[in-house]
Amino acid sequence: MKRRGRGIACMWYPIGFTVSANPSAAVVKVNEDGTATLLTGTVETGQGSLTILAQIVAQELGIATDDVHVVSADTDTTPMDTGAIASRTTYVTGNAARLAAEKAKKILFDVAAPLLGVKPDHLEVSDHKIQIKGFPSRSLHIGDVAERARGVNGDPPLGSASFNPATAALDPETGQGKPFATYVYATQIAEVDVDDETGEVEVLRVVASHDCGTPINPMLVEGQVEGGISMGVGFALEEEMLFDANGRQINPNLTNYIMPTSLDMPKVEVDIVDSYDPTGPFGAKGVGEPTCVATAAAILNAIHDAVGVRVTSLPATSEKVYAAIKAKRAQEGKRLAAGT
């Protein structure tokens, strides 16, 4: 008989390396028509980070995402980057990209200020324009300013910057200190059906509420959460590399290494919690890794809720769950026989 259960799990996760420096550098060039180019040494590994970086640069310059072209991942042409690791790209590379764009913007403001008859710090950017704060009608198109910066002032608008998260060493005896600049938080709740005659677990639904600071791109955050949950489902129920007694792998292939397919995916409902980190670019932190952290815990708690057994080793395969159910029944049987 299928028994339904629900399980909750919350988690925390840091952004960036543990204490060690993990800087990123970036270069932003504003073109003569007001579009821009970002040079970054990070790598697009499928998560959409180059789009996030384009959005950050666009925001700083008051232009649209489509106006920013990103050149990435070439040691000859792009500045150093610690890379696509540790959920650090939005926060660390994002901060570097924002700071580089800010420097290019400062050159644009220096050019625009005398034309608008104000000091540079009275200016702001908005929708492809450089305008006076509080007087948006007095403005210049960013492309006109960029062209003038190059052609009249001889000061082409480009900026370079680097960023490294603020950490402090840990005491070697007690481990006390500041290992990370910031952390993100999340809760996932899983609903499962467990067949108490076979031990088979079906994950029906996962509700996920994630903190990533400001979501630079909510659609990409949702994509990360859905992908993380699929990894979590595999970790919880199916995936396991097996070795023989001599240390050779038994199942190094996709026939015998079982991982979730689209048919195993539960219904996923993603919420992004209101959050703002003043140390991140426009309040953003990150979301890559944390999405797969709480899933297995939530599923295992749901299995416990459904059939009353606590599986303490992953993956909770049907065999393992069924063995636990059988052991529980045997114990209950003994208790009944003893009349307690």
Binding site: G175, T187, V273, D274, E289, A297, H304
Partner: protein, 469 residues
Amino acid sequence: MDKKETDDKKAAVIERESQTEALREMLRAPAAAPLAPLPLETLVPEVRQQTPAVRQRATRPDARLHGLGQTKYIDDFYLPGMLFAKIKRAGIASARIVRIDTKEAEALPGVVAVVTARDVPCNSFGPSLKDQPVLAGERVFHAGDGVAAVAAVTEQIAAEALEKIEVEYEPVTPVLDPLESLKLETPGLHAPNPNIYGHKVIRKGDVEKGFAASYRIFEASYRTQMVEHVPLEPHSSLATWDANGRVTIYSTLGRITLGRADLARTLAVPMSRIRIIATVVGGNFGGKNEITTEPVVALLAKKTGRPVKCTFTRPEEFTSSTTRHPIIMDYKTGVTKEGRILARQVRLVLDGGAYCSWSETTLAKACILSPGPYDIENIYAEAFVVYTNKTMTGAMRGFGAPQVCFAYESHMDDIAEALGIDPLEIRLRNVLREGSLSPTSQQLHSVVVRETLLQAAQRFGWNGAEVRA
């Protein structure tokens, strides 16, 4: 047979043939069809052109290329004269290499070069401990170690050549259980490095005092398994040298700055002569953080004077790339009658596999995160990582966090059940808040774990969540 019947049969044949022809035509169509111009303008999504840019659901330019089948992965790259490389795997978990004979492989028509450890200028690398060879020389530490590599004109010939390489091993008893490795004395299985190659302690407050003041104490143990990243695109790289002694490597690496440093070390070439271009990577999840095929193709390309490409097979993804650390986790937690955690003690043993890789980072993150997102005054967490003769463990999405979260959250539910408290409620009573001190006594900012609990509970329809929110 009358005429009508014959005509009917003829008509049926003709109809069948015309259908077959139509079917053939359909099958032929894609190859014969002219390349249609791409409808560039109509597909450009409006949202990418909006300001302000932040918080927009902007589509990805690479998604468009993926959708149109235009993304070029390394498997799609061919350079003139390019050779294909394959790596011979040890297939034995622990052994001394007595002899490697490559003569027969070299003599195979179509094979252009073979390299072994002797061809590697500096045969060690690693992000913290430099304990990993490009190709195993004297010692095999896990079955997935490479012992030789072949470059040939086709992949098939390269694979055939691997069969012709003779390696004589002197087996050494492998250590597969991390707890056994933890107990072993010198000389150790990875001498001169000690078996326990990483250790971390987090001590906050006084756990003994916390346990003494507790209403109840709970203890439990948990274990997790080894898993693979399983990216859709396997590890791959392509190297080509120019006449000035400069090498360009197209690679699936997610970290080119580190990759260039590792290549400069292993190839003994200045960084200024190495160019790494990371292509669009078909999935990383932490598995593509360090060099794998890159130094091998660079050496083969130098030796042959031709571009060389190597792509992992799916079995190599499992046997010869990094994996997630299995962790054995012991938890002891003291609580008040109301479910408030007063003290938590954690002991973690990480199976570090054959090489260090990113184990030190995983060890530290797992240890720091192991008490969970809870405000606990007294904590003692200790973590060890040990060598075993299994596939190396390293960076994988979450760096130890999914393992410890499984443990601390299972433990939390058991405590809640024993005390008769709702699982949501016990978490709300313990979670970190703005300004809370972490296990390392770091004052935390922008802490919203409570908000995520309430938001998820409300969405799910957990008892009473609506009232509390």
